[in-house]
């Protein structure tokens, strides 16, 4: 059976029409003066889901998170958590906890005290607090740092303290605002997987805000791509990547080649697109394009590059000139210039240490891809 992406999903409550959403944003709008940060947005998140809000800065993703935490009130619309309307409930009574981008560790308290803070507010018994704090310290592997103050810790350790503090109360939902933003690349990659393990272990619902698409793709069950206060697409990472709903999403997530053209012919769910280059692209038409301008979006790794014209007539083939080559070790990226001046990117995985068809700058090259390599977009 064919599936989008390479992962078979075992957790997909959003496909079940009877599943009840855990968090619901219903027509939520948030205005700051003249500026509309969140624009009539509706969104559903399910229990135990790892949900990511992805967007450029200023797209309203953080505002959405802050409204759920109770730091901002929606100008209109409702936010429901487990069926309960959150309007009028102050942040300190909401069963959600947040991990702040700046970590917001209390500088005058030790690691222990920081983690115990929320438990103390709940009036938990002292012995229980101690047990829970020890458990949390173990969870984030900071047992020997319990007595340190935040300024005596490295960035990565601080991040763990912030995480331990925000999950110590076992909130229904954990909100994470750019949780890995302040870490260096290597630490970030390790921590991504740790966060996923933690979420599995604790069985919590995670809602993470990030501008880093790789981070969102790696960790999340579903991603909401946001732009100008609106949700553009909500889908699994594979769907977002392989079946973007618009040029914005295709371009925002990963790199993509977009060919603009008109629908020139139609044949059994397949259309022919006449591009500006005078090339005709045959494409699977899942989005049922009309007559106007359409865009064909295809990812670089779906395009093969070769010095010879392909023999198979069913493949799309475009000729161009090798303009730039980037050798990255695991793969090589070719930028090929077409007659119209458009640059098309193709990336080849270097599965072998040697190549039978090496290309160099200014070579003529053929780019080939099957009809189902990309998607036809109408907006």
């Amino acid at each position: 059976m064919k599936s989008l992406g390479s992962i078979r999903r075992s957790f997909a409550p959003w496909t079940d029409p009877n599943a009840k959403p855990f968090i619901s944003f219903e027509n939520v709008t948030k205005r700051f003066g003249d500026f509309t940060a969140v624009d009539n947005l509706s969104l559903h998140v399910y229990e135990r889901e790892f949900f990511a809000l992805l967007g450029a800065s200023g797209c309203g993703k953080s505002t959405l998170l802050r409204m759920l935490a109770g730091f901002e009130q929606p100008s209109s619309g409702r936010i429901l958590l487990d069926g309960q309307d959150l309007a009028g409930i102050p942040p300190y009574r909401r069963p959600v906890n947040m991990m702040f981008q700046s970590y917001a560790l209390f500088p005058h308290m030790t690691v222990e005290k920081n983690i115990a803070y929320g438990l103390k507010q709940d009036g938990m018994a002292k012995a229980d607090i101690e047990t829970r704090v020890a458990e949390m310290l173990k969870l984030v592997k900071l047992e020997q740092f319990a007595r340190r103050k935040p300024h005596q810790l490295s960035g990565g350790q601080r991040q763990r303290v912030a995480l331990a503090r925000s999950v110590a109360k076992r909130p229904k939902v954990l909100l994470l605002d750019e949780p890995l933003g302040a870490l260096d690349k290597k630490l970030r990659e390790e921590t991504q997987f740790e966060l996923m393990d933690l979420q599995q272990q604790l069985g919590l619902t995670f809602m993470v805000v990030t501008h880093d698409q790789e981070e969102a793709m790696t960790m999340a069950d579903r991603i909401a791509i946001m732009d100008k206060g609106k949700v553009i697409q909500v889908a699994t990472p594979a769907e977002v990547y392989e079946a973007p709903s618009s040029r914005f999403v295709a371009d925002f997530v990963g790199s993509v080649n977009i060919f603009e053209g008109r629908v020139a012919g139609r044949d059994e769910g397949r259309i022919e697109i006449a591009t500006a280059d005078g090339v005709t692209i045959r494409a699977d038409d899942a989005n049922a394009a009309g007559q106007g301008t359409v865009w064909y979006a295809v990812r670089p790794e779906k395009i093969r590059i070769s010095s010879k014209r392909p023999e198979n007539p069913a493949l799309n083939a475009i000729e161009g000139e090798v303009w730039d080559i980037g050798y990255l070790g695991d793969m090589t990226v070719y930028n090929v210039k077409l007659a119209s001046g458009q640059i098309v990117r193709s990336s080849e995985l270097n599965r072998h240490r040697t190549s039978e068809d090496p290309l160099t700058w200014n070579d003529r090259a053929w780019l080939t891809f099957p009809a189902d390599a990309g998607v036809v977009l109408t907006r």
């Binding site: 942040p91 300190y92 959600v96 917001a104 209390f106 500088p107 507010q121 005596q152 810790l153 109360k169």
Partner: protein, 271 residues
């Protein structure tokens, strides 16, 4: 580091001489055996001994200390509250006017502050004495506290408070368990500033004091008008000593904390 050139050394010496020669003279003459202030009659500590039997000076010192302690404490509370309101609640009408009005007493001539307070106390029929001096000192030192605390609050990371509330603390608990401890150094600094200001104020105290409430600066001033005695030099030397020790201790503590912090941060960054 640059080595000191001759020019630097000369300007350094001149500058410090300008600042400290008068004080040094005063300290030296406080150990003068002679009754005449300007004639050296050998080393002696007799003026320090006679100080202990001068009940007037001791009373004045006690009044000054009480006024300073009380007014600094009240001014710190009021000044901190003013600073919090002015930095946090930025959306009320006339905030800029109020901010300006809090800071205006900083540049107001003391004579005017003193006179206006005197007029007020007379108008409402408040008997002048310990209470009126204290009230007057609260009035003018409050704005110094507000300035110090406000600058700390402006660099305060608001997400700390949000984190506390997010973890279940009510706004009141947030203030006492997070905000207050974090801005405490500024509040202490404000208190110390207010205390010192009250300690050495002469003008405002003269306007607002009444019989039975004479502060040390007033007492010294009135004695000097009758002629400077070596006793006054002795009192002044003790004051210089107290202030000097206080400043040195404060800066040493600060320095040590700084060094410790830097070492901690380096250690943390390495492992």
């Amino acid at each position: 580091m640059n080595r000191l050139s001759r020019f630097n050394i000369v300007s350094l010496v001149l500058g410090f001489a300008f600042l400290y020669i008068p004080i040094l003279l005063l300290v030296i003459y406080s150990f003068n055996a002679s009754r005449l202030v300007t004639v050296w009659g050998g080393f002696s500590t007799r003026w320090y001994a006679s100080l202990l039997s001068n009940q007037q000076l001791i009373d004045a010192a006690w009044v000054t200390f009480r006024v300073a302690f009380l007014s600094a404490s009240v001014a710190t509370v009021l000044g901190t509250l003013a600073a919090i309101v002015l930095t946090r609640y930025t959306r009320f009408h006339g905030r800029i006017l109020f901010t300006g009005m809090v800071f205006a007493p900083l540049v107001m001539p003391e004579v005017i502050t003193g006179l206006s307070l005197l007029l007020l106390f007379v108008a409402i029929g408040l008997e002048r004495g310990f209470m009126t001096i204290t009230l007057a000192h609260i009035t003018f030192s409050m704005c110094f506290v507000a300035v110090v605390v406000q600058s700390r609050l402006l660099s305060f990371d608001r997400s700390l408070e949000e984190a506390a509330q997010d973890l279940g603390a009510t706004p009141t608990r947030t203030f006492f368990s997070v905000t207050l401890p974090v801005i405490l150094p500024a509040i202490v600094a404000g208190w110390m500033l207010a205390f010192t200001l009250s300690l050495d104020d002469l003008v405002i105290a003269s306007f607002t004091s009444g019989p039975g409430a004479t502060t040390l600066p007033m007492r010294i001033y009135s004695q000097v008008r009758l002629g400077v005695t070596p006793e006054i030099n002795a009192v002044s030397t003790i004051l210089i000593g107290v202030v000097g020790v206080g400043v040195i201790i404060a800066s040493l503590v600060n320095k040590r904390r700084d060094v410790q912090r830097r070492r901690d941060e380096q250690a943390a960054a390495q492992g």
